[in-house]
């Protein structure tokens, strides 16, 4: 054995040559990524920020998709017509930059041959839009504010941001009737403004007074002490953190804690909230309202919820990546894949146009939180957003708990004039953007 080892030992020159060869082979993409024998494989593009300030809304989603793909592939793939397809995700980190998103879309469509692209959207969508439209590629976004009458192949099939935020405010008004004064802050960007308009409409509908103008801070802000001091100067009952990124929600909560805020905090997201609880206290975070549940919640097992095996999905996610890594988007892209796979099955094809047609057939779809309808003409100029129920989540004893599912369309039917008023005032209607 010793002789064998001696005979096969590499010298430094061999090692360097072999390493260089291996690197160049890998760099030229000659190595097959995943081999599935003779079975058919459909490639799905994942074009989202995986690094940088917005990575919290990309990377956990890709991790969730990997679980989804493993489960689907282990079960034999998705059935499309007479064929079974394994699913392979091809990711590209767009760093939330439209130029890189364009390069990524070109790679995914022209080189990788993907049949569907999932994006976070926002600033990156306009960079992708021309190439997606030219190629007829079906693309999903988590931000329906990307939708316009011209975006025929863009869909928002999971998250109708920020409209679902109305359900949190509605629940707050019903369960904490003494809370009557609110303040709002948000980063001054494409995510912040429509969300502020939504919260303003929801507070007005709920009879809650917003006691100061919404405070827009620059996305480059790192010191949140003055922001919080200004917010708390009016002694509000409700502190609304709008759709702040995780990088802002955490320091804002810390500042609210340090500056002695005693009221209720409401926010669109609370990604990695156990870390906020650690930095503040369970007592401080008690009653924190947001919109994104942990999927170990038993409420997700009730009839009507379409996301398959949510508790097992959460357990697997926690096992692979850690419980503290669970975020708002961990399940969202996977739930979009459920919808896509269902539509591909119905269409008997994985081609983008066929899948889109099958997806929108009958005007309804199976949203993760229940059956929903394709909607949006009044707000986005096109019915490409799937809207239905959405959960209201509250932190109790350091853990997120679903308190209720509320209907977004019901709220819309009663208060749509308020929403349109505030969206218009902030220049967020589809015909006012860009």
């Amino acid at each position: 054995m010793k002789n064998l080892l001696a005979r096969t030992r590499l010298d430094r020159r061999d090692f360097l040559s072999a390493s260089a060869a291996a690197m160049s082979v890998a760099a030229t993409g000659v190595v097959p990524k995943v081999a599935f024998g003779a079975e058919k494989t459909v490639k799905i593009g994942f074009l989202a920020p995986l690094t940088g300030a917005v990575a919290a809304w990309g990377k956990p989603g890709l991790d969730g998709c990997q679980i989804w793909a493993d489960w689907v592939n282990d079960a034999g793939g998705i059935k499309v017509g007479d064929d079974s397809y394994k699913v392979e995700f091809i990711s590209y980190d767009n760093e939330y930059d439209p130029g890189k998103a364009r390069a990524g879309a070109a790679k995914l469509i022209k080189e990788d041959g993907v049949k569907f692209i999932m994006m976070l959207g926002g600033d990156t969508w306009p960079g992708v839009q021309p190439i997606a439209e030219n190629e007829g590629m079906l693309v999903s976004t988590l931000l329906p504010s990307d939708l316009t009458p011209n975006t025929k192949t863009l869909i928002a099939p999971c998250e109708v941001h920020p409209i679902y935020n109305v359900t949190g405010v509605e629940w707050l008004a019903a369960n904490k009737p003494d809370a009557k004064k609110a303040v709002i802050c948000a980063q001054d960007d494409a995510l912040g403004k429509p969300s502020v308009a939504t919260y303003l409409a929801a507070f007005e509908a709920a009879g809650i007074e917003v006691v100061d103008d919404p405070l827009f801070f620059d996305p480059a802000t790192t010191d949140f002490a003055p922001v919080m001091t200004r917010l708390l100067s009016t002694n509000p009952d409700i502190l609304c953190l709008d759709t702040c990124y995780a990088d802002y929600v955490h320091p804002l909560c810390e500042q609210a804690f340090q500056q002695g805020f005693k009221g209720t905090i409401i926010s669109c997201t609370a990604d990695f909230y156990p870390k906020i609880v650690e930095k503040t206290s369970k007592e401080f975070m008690e009653g924190f309202i947001f919109q994104f549940p942990d999927f170990d919640d038993p409420a997700l097992n009730q009839p009507g919820v379409n996301f398959p095996k949510p508790n097992e999905f959460y357990a697997e996610y926690a096992k692979r990546y850690g419980e503290a890594e669970w975020g708002a988007v961990s399940w969202e892209y996977a739930s979009i894949m459920d919808l896509w796979a269902d539509a591909a099955g119905k269409a008997g094809s994985v081609e983008p146009a066929d899948v889109l047609k099958a997806m929108k057939e009958g005007g309804t779809g199976k949203h993760a939180f229940g059956d929903a309808k394709w909607w949006g003409t009044e707000l986005f100029g096109i019915d490409n957003a799937l809207v239905g129920n959405w959960p209201v989540v509250v932190i109790e004893n350091g853990k997120a708990v679903i308190k209720e599912f509320r209907s977004i369309p019901d709220w819309w039917d009663k208060h749509k004039d308020l929403m349109v008023k505030h969206m218009t005032a902030l220049g967020q209607m589809w015909n006012q953007r860009g």
Binding site: M23, A26, A27, T28, G29, L50, T51, G52, A55, K59, S91, Y92, D93, Y96, D97, P98, G99, R102, A103, G104, A106, K107, K110, E111, D123, P126, G127, Q129, P130, N134, D188, D189, A190, G192, K193, D218, P219, A220, G427, Q432, R433, G434
Partner: protein
């Protein structure tokens, strides 16, 4: 070598480089061509930044000035219907004009104060873009910006034609920048950098020359913005934030700023590593960490930048040529 005579090997090297740049896209994948377009634009961006640094002032507002050119060109073409090639030139001129205006407050400062002042001025411009939804589109910016018009069957939406367009524009701009540096004006920039009081004592108006460097650099930065915006078709204030500026600084520092080619080496090497090699190796999410490691390593082991390798390489080649018989170098040669 006497002035006016050029080493024939430089001509050969220049022709080889030109041929390589022309042939390059045909060796690239479609998405790598997209990266090549952005790289060519960034070459001009970082080279124009170097012109600014010749007078000794480092700015944190160069990327915002690029944005001024981009916004101006986008607005001229989208809102006023100006043909895109003309709007690009107008965008560059607007960036130069804004720089001229900023010169008056900024060049009351020097060194670190100028650096901070340029950052503040850039932030004011970015806030204006965010605040005034009309005409700048607010935080979401502008989209569906007209592209460079097609010429017959040539569509500039495709990366290949746009690469060549950028190559021509950037090549001409680099030539212009090079000639400026080699002219009396460029020598005066250097003089102001190293001995500004002495330069003043012999009658050089240092304010005017600093302003000239700033305006020229900004005009080319504005041209970069115009080239970028009519290719990508969208623009928003976050695209020109200080994080983007840090990348320009990194390209300049890693490449070195003592020579004309130093920053170009920096942007080319770092972009190829970050956008091509690391992506191809599947290090998508680890790229910032590896990039940071490369930066630390380059600062530690190449404090004078990548450009410092070139004279070392030349010295090594010379020593090989001139090594006497019997030395290791001559044996290796044999």
């Amino acid at each position: 070598m006497s002035r006016g005579k050029v080493n024939p090997w430089l001509w050969v090297a220049g022709i080889v480089l030109l041929a390589t740049l022309i042939a390059l896209p045909f060796g690239l994948s479609f998405s790598q061509r997209e990266v090549a377009v952005l790289l060519v634009i960034n070459v001009l961006l970082v080279s124009s930044y170097r012109l600014m640094t010749l007078t000794g002032e480092w700015s944190l507002g160069h990327v915002v000035i690029m944005g001024v050119g981009a916004y101006a060109s986008a607005l001229f073409s989208k809102r006023l219907g100006v043909p895109v090639p003309i709007s690009m030139l107008l965008g560059a001129v607007t960036a130069g004009a804004v720089a001229a205006l900023l010169s008056f407050p900024l060049f009351r400062m020097k060194g670190f104060y100028f650096l901070i002042g340029s950052f503040a001025a850039g932030e004011v411009i970015r806030l204006i873009w965010k605040y005034f939804t009309n005409p700048f589109g607010g935080p979401k910016g502008l989209k569906l910006i007209p592209g460079f018009p097609d010429i017959g069957p040539i569509s500039f939406f495709e990366p290949l034609p746009y690469y060549y367009l950028c190559l021509i524009v950037v090549g001409m701009s680099l030539f212009f920048l090079y000639r400026i540096e080699r002219s009396r004006i460029g020598l005066t920039f250097h003089a102001i950098h190293w001995q500004d009081k002495l330069a003043e004592s012999v009658g050089v108006n240092t304010f005017s020359y600093r302003m000239l460097a700033f305006v020229l650099a900004s005009t080319f930065a504005g041209l970069c913005g115009a080239l970028y915006v009519h290719y990508i078709g969208t623009i928003n204030p976050n695209r020109f934030d200080v994080e983007e500026m840090v990348f320009v600084l990194i390209w300049a520092i890693v490449g070195g700023t003592a020579t004309f080619y130093g920053p170009i080496l920096g942007v080319v090497v770092l972009t190829v590593i970050n956008e091509v090699i690391l992506r191809a190796l599947g290090f998508d999410t680890a790229r910032p960490m590896i990039y940071g490691f490369i930066l630390i390593a380059s600062v530690l082991f190449l404090p004078n930048g990548l450009e410092s390798l070139v004279p070392k390489l030349q010295a090594w080649r010379t020593s090989r040529r001139t090594a006497p018989e019997g030395t290791p170098a001559s044996e290796e040669k044999a």
